[in-house]
């Protein structure tokens, strides 16, 4: 077996073969699923904890503060300490709440984000499942989270929560359209929905460069709409702590609250990862056709570093939004989507189709 950090396909194939050699195919598949599940779970937890820490540091940077700096070097273990605290916090029972839905809601939110994780290509060959409708699958799965938010607001038996949930429902359903349309723009350019092929097609030039103007418009709309879809930044109307105290998760405590909290950060990671994959070449290094020496240096950096680096940069951008802009109002939010983004998007898709037909892209 040869192991290389540049191509994981031989490594995963070796695991597959040795499992199949040792046991029946059915059992091998079951064990593979288990391994992948555990690996994603661990990655999920690490990313979640790291992003919470990163957000606190970024926010401190924006606000002239130091941020967490007591637990561990540079406050690294602050989020772990917070998590341990949240684990021990009492799950406050809510009077007249719909108990089943109330406990179910955080799991729906977290499962939705968990499922999206499986389809992301982290590096060459490091891909839990490579669906031929990858983009479509990501869209479908990431919009499932709203069900959890709606249930949380409804089941809490709290008026603030209900307002928050209703806002979130209107918001996510609207912005889902923009996210979808901006991804469709790139799908038109790429000619495929399979994420691995989309990444592969960007070897000499990421789609944001190859699709020039329409791709850039699509990217801007995607990043704004997906910020709205994850209930973050200037679009956090569902939580809106100055209006609705904490919106849909007002009544949640302990580990259930932690689930909502974690899911928010993972969703941010997922949208940044989708943007990376679709617009910025995923794990592909930055290569320019013909510049052999330059490409060699770029290729020396392992693909998963490229992937995480690009995703990190986009996450920083999303955090930057949050800590700079005031919040929009619900009617302005919907106006922005239905009167501006959607028409621009539809025209943008048409322009992209025209460009692809005439071959005006690089």
């Amino acid at each position: 077996m040869e192991f290389s950090i540049y191509d994981f396909s031989s490594f995963t194939a070796w695991i597959d073969q040795s499992l199949r050699a040792a046991m029946s195919p059915g059992l091998a598949v079951a064990i593979e699923m288990l391994i992948i599940g555990v690996a994603i779970l661990i990655f999920y937890a690490i990313v979640g904890l790291f992003l919470v820490y990163a957000e606190r540091k970024v926010c401190a940077l924006m606000q002239n503060r130091l941020g967490p700096n007591r637990v561990g070097p540079g406050g690294m273990f602050q989020t772990i300490a917070d998590l341990v605290k949240l684990l021990f916090v009492e799950l406050v029972p809510i009077k007249n709440a719909d108990k089943i839905l109330f406990s179910l809601a955080p799991y729906i939110v977290i499962i939705a984000s968990f499922m999206a994780m499986g389809a992301l290509p982290f590096a060459k060959g490091l891909h839990a499942i490579d669906l031929n409708i990858g983009v479509f699958y990501l869209m479908a799965v990431s919009s499932m989270g709203v069900v959890g938010v709606l249930l949380a607001g409804w089941a809490s038996n709290n008026k603030y929560s209900l307002i928050g949930a209703m806002r979130s429902g209107a918001q996510i359903v609207s912005y889902e359209l923009s996210v979808g349309m901006s991804l469709v723009t790139i799908v038109v350019l790429a000619g495929t929905m399979q994420l691995s092929e989309i990444v592969q097609a960007q070897q000499y030039g990421w789609f944001i460069f190859r699709g020039h103007i329409p791709a850039l418009i699509a990217f801007i709309i995607f990043i704004v709409a997906s910020t709205a879809e994850t209930n973050r930044g200037p679009f956090d109307l569902a939580e809106a702590e100055s209006e609705l105290t904490a919106g849909f998760h007002t009544e949640y405590s302990g580990i259930r609250f932690a689930f909502f909290f974690l899911a928010e950060y993972i969703n941010m990671f997922i949208v940044a990862a989708i943007a990376t994959t679709v617009f910025f070449g995923g794990w592909m290094p930055f290569n320019v056709y013909g510049w052999e020496g330059f490409n060699k240096v770029m290729n020396f950096i392992p693909p998963f570093i490229w992937f995480l680096g690009k995703t990190g940069a986009l996450i920083f951008l999303i955090m930057w939004f949050k800590w700079t802009f005031p919040r929009l109002r619900i009617d302005q939010l919907l106006t922005l989507e239905w009167k501006y983004f959607l028409p621009i998007n539809i025209i943008n898709v048409l322009i992209m189709a025209l460009i692809v037909l005439l071959g005006w892209h690089w």
Binding site: Q63, R327, R329, Q332
Partner: protein
């Protein structure tokens, strides 16, 4: 007896929520009972009194020097100006002329108080609208003013620096330098406030045309301070009825005609700049002399009624004292600007969204202890 079930059509049913007394954007223990229809506010009913301490009644059993310390606890962001109001009333009743030095220092201190109050307004207003970063920028600069207070007065927020007849003690020798340093610093960073919030498109969309009060309405409801002046009601006591050293300085009364949230905000931003100009004119010319007039240890006001109003950071604070000749006042009444400014909230917020209600409430810059007293 048969109980008839009252049928309420769903479309006419109001959704009533309680904002407060424990709510992040009521800035204290104010309770707003809000009747909603979807997101639209139908009716706002402020319920006050959660922090009522009976300050006016307590004053009846205290001497005039002791009353000063209670007034700090009313509008705690204008603590110095509240003190000054009582002192001016007592001095007026006793017909004492305070030394020039005291007048200058009081004016400078009042303007510093106004600046730090507006800084906190800016900080919390940004936070009300969801811009959390504003809070830290505002507090960062406010800290510098509080340090100046601490050096001269001993207190940071609850200063109690005035006494009837003068000041508690002389200013710190470093006072003038510190103030000049602060002015230089703040002139350099105040543009950050505009960069972060004033010029932001989302902020302008959120605040322009919201909670409009016309000039007539503002006068009818008795709105004062930046809230009233944003509607075009010229009500600056410093201009119309100068006290302390305000007759010696040239400054502009900030007047707008729009009367919406955005212009209330702008009025406060401009007032900060005007306050800095006022301090500029005074800080180098503080006359030498005693820091207090000669006063008897026990102050007894002659029988009669006395009134003096001052311009706090939020509007007109009136102090009305009825004396029966004893060392305690017979009755004290404070006309607090916040109580009056809160009154038309229903009028302003009706028909807008919940988010606008928060913005309108924030633009009134309410201090709840001043409402309840």
């Amino acid at each position: 007896m048969e109980v008839k079930e009252k049928k309420v059509g769903l479309e006419n049913e109001e959704y009533i929520i309680n904002m407060g007394p424990q709510h992040p954007s009521t800035h204290g223990v104010l309770r707003l009972v809000v009747a909603l229809k979807g997101e639209i506010v139908q009716r706002v009913e402020p319920h006050i009194g959660y922090i009522h301490r009976g300050i006016e009644k307590m004053c009846e059993n205290l001497t005039y020097q002791q009353i000063i310390h209670l007034t700090d606890r009313m509008d705690y962001l204008s603590a110095h100006i509240n003190n000054e109001a009582v002192c001016l009333t007592v001095e007026k009743a006793l017909e004492i002329e305070v030394p020039e030095r005291v007048k200058y220092i009081r004016t400078i201190m009042s303007e510093l108080t106004r600046i730090q109050s507006h800084q906190l307004f800016w900080a919390t207003f940004g936070m009300d609208l969801g811009g959390l970063t504003c809070f830290f920028y505002g507090l960062r600069d406010r800290e510098k003013v509080l340090d100046i207070f601490e050096e001269s007065c001993g207190g940071r927020m609850i200063v109690s620096y005035n006494t009837p007849g003068g000041l508690m003690n002389d200013i710190h020798p470093n006072f003038q330098n510190r103030v000049k340093e602060f002015l230089k610093y703040f002139r350099g960073v105040i543009h950050e406030y505009d960069d972060l919030l004033t010029g932001n498109v989302i902020f302008q969309e959120r605040s322009k045309g919201m909670g409009v009060m016309t000039k007539e309405e503002a006068i009818a409801w008795g709105l004062t301070g930046p809230t009233g002046r944003a509607s075009g009601f010229s009500c600056d006591i410093r201009k119309h009825n100068p006290y302390s050293a305000y007759d010696k300085v040239a400054f502009r009364e900030i007047l707008y005609t729009e009367g919406d949230v955005f212009h209330r905000y702008l009025a406060r931003m401009e007032e900060m700049r005007e306050s800095m100009n006022i301090i500029d004119q005074l800080i180098d010319n503080i006359p030498e002399g005693p820091y207090t007039a000669k006063m008897k240890p026990v102050i007894k006001l002659p029988e009669g009624e006395y009134f003096q109003s001052v311009e706090t950071a939020r509007g007109e604070l009136g102090v009305f004292i009825v004396s029966d000749g004893n060392k305690n006042p017979y009755r004290v009444k404070f006309r607090s600007p916040n109580f009056v400014n809160l009154a038309p909230l229903n009028l302003m917020a009706r028909g807008s969204k919940i988010a606008d209600l928060v913005a309108i409430g924030g633009s009134l810059d309410l201090i709840i202890p001043d409402i309840d007293r």
